[in-house]
Amino acid sequence: MKALIERLEKKFRVTDPVMQRADETFFTVDKADAVALITHLREREGFTHLSFLTAVDWLEDGKFQLTYLLNNNAMKADVGVRVFLDRERPVMESVHHLWKQAATYQRELKEMFGIDFPGSPRIDEPFILEGWHDIPPYRRDFDTKKYSEETYFPRPGRTTHDPADYMKQKLYPEE
């Protein structure tokens, strides 16, 4: 894995490699290099399987993080390629030309996070949500509780307890 990272660092702007396990490594790559790097991993290094493509919303940093997890069946190893996008203009190059199924992940990301992948097939069609009008629901500034209360007629009488406090009161009432 170390040798792989060293090979990649010569060609691409690869930073922050994290050896999660002996057979699993994550690293960050510059957005402009990302698709070239993923193509290189697929064509030259044998990482032929896209396990998943997912996103994280770093609200405080103003960034979206995309993670492409690629699997090398011969080496029995995974690499996670992280790409950071600007939260204001989240646009990323599509990888559907490498893996057909990436288009489905990208459709989901478009709907749930609002990350655009121009040129990806059926990217603008609704994926799970039909007729969604609000900001994408997986963004962290979307208040799902408030939305639910305004939209779905909450039934009155529901109480919630913080589990830690509640158990403390139950077990040690005099403290």
Partner: protein, 213 residues
């Protein structure tokens, strides 16, 4: 189905014959649901007895509770011995069992199925999700109270209810029907505008006719 399927169009038949199709006129009924007045007391009580003994469930699994229906319809719990059977299509059934959480997308299909079912028809709602949202109470995509969108005859509590509680629920439903209190369908017809307003409030891409029967 999309809103395009509801538009008028010219269709070519197998013999090359051209004819116009207006789906809203040709495929769907344009009339609101009507309330049904009960017949005289003795005849109505006989009908209610017959209805209670003739429950046909639409085998449509909406949430995780649908998994409880499999042991129920197979020899382990065997609901058939109570005269409760499953049917594959809405047109052949009169009990709609809502198995747990309903997302907005599923609710749309549930409404279509419910409206296509034959009357008198009943709705049985399983689990805490249909009552107050359950563990999905603050989700952006699942409804909290089913009775705002469909007339629920009986709720069965639990997360998930065991097949035994479903059997008890069906017995309670039979009792309700025998007493003439299974009035969900009439309730739906009476408050039709209110139900439709609630449904349309959350189903934003309403691309089906208002009357689906």
């Amino acid at each position: 189905m999309s809103s395009k399927d509801l538009e008028k169009r010219r269709v070519t038949g197998p013999d090359g014959e051209q004819f116009d199709v207006d789906p809203m006129q040709d495929y769907f009924c344009q009339e609101r649901p009507k309330e049904h007045e009960p017949a005289n007391r003795i005849w109505e009580s006989f009908l209610n007895w017959a209805r209670a003994e003739s429950l046909w469930i639409l085998g449509y699994g909406t949430g995780c509770g649908a998994i409880e229906m499999r042991p129920l319809m197979t020899p382990r719990f065997d609901a058939y011995r109570y005269g409760i059977q499953w049917r594959p299509t809405p047109r052949q059934s009169n009990v709609l069992v809502i198995g747990g959480y309903l997302s907005v997308k599923t609710l749309k299909r549930v409404i279509r199925s419910y409206e296509q079912m034959q009357g008198p028809k009943y709705v049985v709602a399983l689990g805490s999700c249909t009552i107050n949202g359950g563990m999905y109470w603050d989700s952006y995509n699942t409804i909290n109270r089913l009775d705002k969108y469909l007339p629920v005859d009986i709720y069965i509590t639990g997360c998930m209810p065991r097949p035994e509680s479903l059997l008890a629920g069906f017995e309670a439903l039979k009792k309700l029907i025998r007493e003439g209190k299974g009035e969900g369908q009439n309730l739906y017809a009476r408050n039709f505008d209110e139900y439709k307003a609630n449904q349309k409030k959350i189903i934003r891409d309403w691309d089906m006719p208002d009357y689906n029967w």
